[in-house]
């Protein structure tokens, strides 16, 4: 057992910190927030040049085939700066779904485009009545000669507004099996209704109205589709635990600095024991989150039941820690912590977004409690 980074990993992590420190100041980020796209295409290209978009792409598809730890390091660095680019959606989630697909043609063409930064892919699997259950799919795919006719409405497709392609889940008529299709975002009949999320990223409801697709756009189907999706989402969840960890560490720094800089009764607030103890409690939560993240990493290649339990445990611990650290961060700042002009509120909102996406605490507690049961 060895918890230290290899030399390459340390370089990757330092490089990410350095790049983001230069390109993600609070002011730079605010400018992106209010821009049309909500992030920077230029940054995206740099991500491609730095190889970050190829980290999870297998070598046989022209990627770096890096260890999942590499991805985690990038995500933690991004969490520290509240990065707005849809990195996790494309480079972790979609990349993994596509890499696991047996559709060789789509796989090789898409993955190389992703790695080069020319294609962003979002997952549109949620529906109004599905909550977090990926099996609850009303969207219907009716088999036709050579293909399918798809109808349905997807909601809360994260980062879909800026995606070139969408992975859409649908239930095959007659068999009721779930299938994953790849759709161009600008296909006729596909309507992407965008909206902002509380953390400044974007999502969309996606209406698919009588859209005809070729059999060749099928990524996976049946039990395999569910397993591929489940495993890819587990990777995403763990990656976003790392993102939350990065964010929490900054919240602790911000709160500490704030308490150092403010005076009351003639001494800095940080001299008050009750406030020190709250910082200490935040520290404990952050330590425990890092530990459960590492445990998740250790089980990410394990058989599904173990992997699911490990990822859900990580999410539960991280979400709980995120709530405590985020709320304390605001409380310790007092009123100014509630304003958009101060950083801490933005961190809190990202932590809430992480908590509620891809399974909240209740969902993951249930999954952990019943983890022997499989997909």
């Amino acid at each position: 057992m060895d918890f230290s980074l290899s030399e390459e990993q340390q370089m990757l992590s330092d490089g990410a910190e350095k790049f983001l420190a230069a390109h993600y100041s609070f002011e730079q980020r605010r400018a992106l927030l209010s821009s049309e796209a909500g992030f920077s295409e230029q940054n995206w290209q740099t991500f491609a040049e730095l190889g970050w978009l190829a980290l999870a792409v297998p070598e046989d598809a022209g990627g770096l085939g890096g260890s999942f730890i590499d991805t985690i390091l990038i995500m933690e660095a991004m969490g520290r700066r509240l990065v707005l680019e849809p990195y996790a959606t494309t480079a972790v989630l979609a990349t993994r779904v596509i890499a696991q697909s047996r559709n060789r043609e789509l796989r090789s063409s898409l993955l190389s485009q992703i790695a080069q930064g020319t294609c962003r892919v979002a997952l549109a699997h949620g529906e109004l009545a599905s909550r977090y259950d990926m099996r609850a799919v009303q969207t219907c795919a009716r088999p036709e000669q050579d293909g399918y006719l798809i109808d349905g409405v997807k909601v809360m497709a994260f980062d879909a507004p800026s995606a070139h392609k969408l992975i859409v889940s649908a239930s095959i008529a007659d068999t009721n099996e779930i299938a994953l299709f790849l759709l161009d975002a600008n296909t006729l009949g596909v309507t992407v209704r965008s909206y902002p999320l509380i953390d400044g990223t974007r999502a969309a409801d996606v209406e698919v109205a009588a859209v005809r697709v070729n059999r060749s756009s099928l990524l996976a189907t049946g039990r395999e589709a569910l397993e591929v999706l489940d495993e890819a989402i587990d990777r995403l969840v763990l990656a976003r635990v790392a993102e939350g960890l990065g964010a929490m560490e900054v919240v602790l720094q911000l709160a500490t600095e704030h308490l150092r800089s403010r005076q009351q009764f003639g001494q800095p607030l940080i001299r008050f024991q009750a406030l020190q103890h709250r910082l200490a409690e935040m520290f404990v939560e952050i330590q425990e989150t890092r530990s459960i993240l590492y445990r998740g990493l250790a089980h990410i290649e394990a058989p599904a039941a173990e992997r699911r339990a490990a990822v859900s445990a990580a999410k539960v611990v991280a979400a709980n820690a995120g709530r405590i650290v985020g709320e304390q961060g605001i409380q310790l700042h007092g009123g100014v912590g509630m304003t958009e002009e101060y950083q801490v509120g933005h961190y809190f909102k990202r932590l809430i977004a992480l908590e509620k996406a891809f399974g909240d605490v209740d969902y993951h507690l249930e999954r952990l409690a019943g983890s022997g049961k499989g997909v």
Binding site: L128, I198, A203, K356
Partner: protein
């Protein structure tokens, strides 16, 4: 001991309910249902409707337009207001300024201001806090210097709600820098369009801009707009804050929003079951509900003037602590009910369900839920932080 509302009180409740049913405009109810605070214009309008019925400020003495309802009836009234998704009173005028004017204002001030507060014609905002002052009013620095028959005000206030939508504001200003800090403050009112007053909205993390900074740059305010005696500002402010003791429980807010959380959980599904029927969520609701019922009866005990062996201020501080926690818990329950849908951010100008671009199926109550959740993170900060309340309890109830 007798825990029943009298038949007369129940009849009163029916009367209030019927009045609201007949007189609350649908669009105002809709606005109040979706958002933490209805639009200022809706407040104004609703205040006028209440005033026309003689109910614009039940807590005022009858000679100024108040009613002679008991505390319990005022409670019943508020319950019905919130149950119907009606707006609250135009609070800053009716509940914050007016009691001070009634107790300490001049005859001119009363006749000039009270009627227009009562009928909603003039809107008011409050300016006590200043940057860096926290909950301690003694450190306020905004200065008012008497020159001839005008005060010249210089300084800055912060966290002033609805400053831009208000006709008038009331402020604590330092008229005498030479005496003990609490003795040098005075209570003054000013039109918000007085030259030299500049308002800067503060965008809060919920995405709204209801709070403001108010800057004073040589603002000339007639001496006659000073309320009561100079140097008594601190006393008046304390009087005002002590006046509505049970308001700090945010009981009606909490009850309304627990109902909304339940309504949301009845529309959302998990694993094919209504969320409200799942064991996990229904228990979560029950847990919050039990604490809220306790809080309600804590309020009733104060309203019914229970002889309590503990100091009333300590009892009120306990209300404030639990009330602010409940504000956080009920709004948390709402976003928990919404799950992933809670992440959507709505602006006030956003599409509504009547709008053709609105996505069918989204729950109407989702609008503004995450904003409210975010805003309520401040519930344990504003109006006297939780720590201050604990100090009060330790001192007055426990005698530490």
């Amino acid at each position: 001991m007798n825990f029943e509302f009298s038949p007369e009180d129940e009849a009163f409740r029916a009367e209030v309910r019927e009045f609201i049913r007949a007189n609350l405009p649908a669009e105002i109810a809709c606005d109040a249902r979706r958002w933490f605070n209805p639009k200022v214009d809706n407040y104004r309008r609703w205040q006028g409707i209440l005033a026309a019925r003689g109910w614009g400020a039940p807590h005022w003495p009858p000679e100024y337009g108040g009613t002679d309802w008991s505390a319990i009836r005022r409670h019943i009234f508020m319950e019905e207001i919130y149950k119907a998704d009606a707006p609250d009173f135009f609070w800053q005028g009716t509940h914050m300024l007016a009691p001070v004017l009634i107790a300490f204002g001049s005859a001119d001030q009363k006749s000039r201001f009270l009627p227009k507060i009562l009928n909603g014609e003039e809107s008011w905002c409050q300016g006590f806090s200043e940057p860096g002052a926290g909950s301690d009013l003694a450190t306020l620095r905004t200065a008012a210097k008497l020159e001839g028959d005008h005060y010249i005000i210089n300084g800055q206030k912060i966290w002033t709600s609805d400053a831009r939508e208000s006709d008038w504001g009331f402020f604590l200003v330092r008229t005498d820098p030479t005496v003990k800090p609490q003795r040098g403050l005075s209570f003054i009112v000013a039109r918000m369009d007085t030259p030299g007053i500049r308002i800067r909205p503060i965008r809060t993390i919920d995405g709204r801009e209801e709070l403001n900074e108010v800057f004073f740059d040589n603002v000339r305010v007639p001496q006659a707009q000073l309320v009561g005696e100079p140097g008594m500002g601190w006393t008046y402010a304390k009087y005002l804050l002590d006046k509505e003791r049970t308001a700090s429980a945010f009981l009606y807010f909490n009850k309304r929003h627990l109902q909304k959380a339940k309504a949301l959980a009845s529309e959302q599904f998990a694993g094919g079951v209504r969320l409200i029927d799942t064991p996990a969520f229904s228990r979560k609701v029950a847990r919050v509900e039990a604490d809220l019922l306790a809080l309600e009866w804590s309020v009733l005990r104060i309203l019914a003037q229970e002889k309590n062996k503990y100091d009333l201020n300590a009892v009120v501080s306990a209300l404030k602590i639990r009330g602010s926690e409940m504000q956080q818990r009920v709004t948390e329950l709402q976003i928990d009910a919404l799950g992933p849908l809670a992440l959507r951010h709505f602006e006030r100008r956003d599409a509504t369900i009547d709008d053709p671009t609105w996505m069918p199926g989204w729950p109407e109550l989702a609008i503004g839920a995450s904003s409210l959740f975010l805003f309520e993170r401040a519930a344990t900060i504003y109006g006297g932080a939780r720590e201050v309340q604990k100090n009060i309890i330790a001192k007055l109830a426990i005698g530490s």
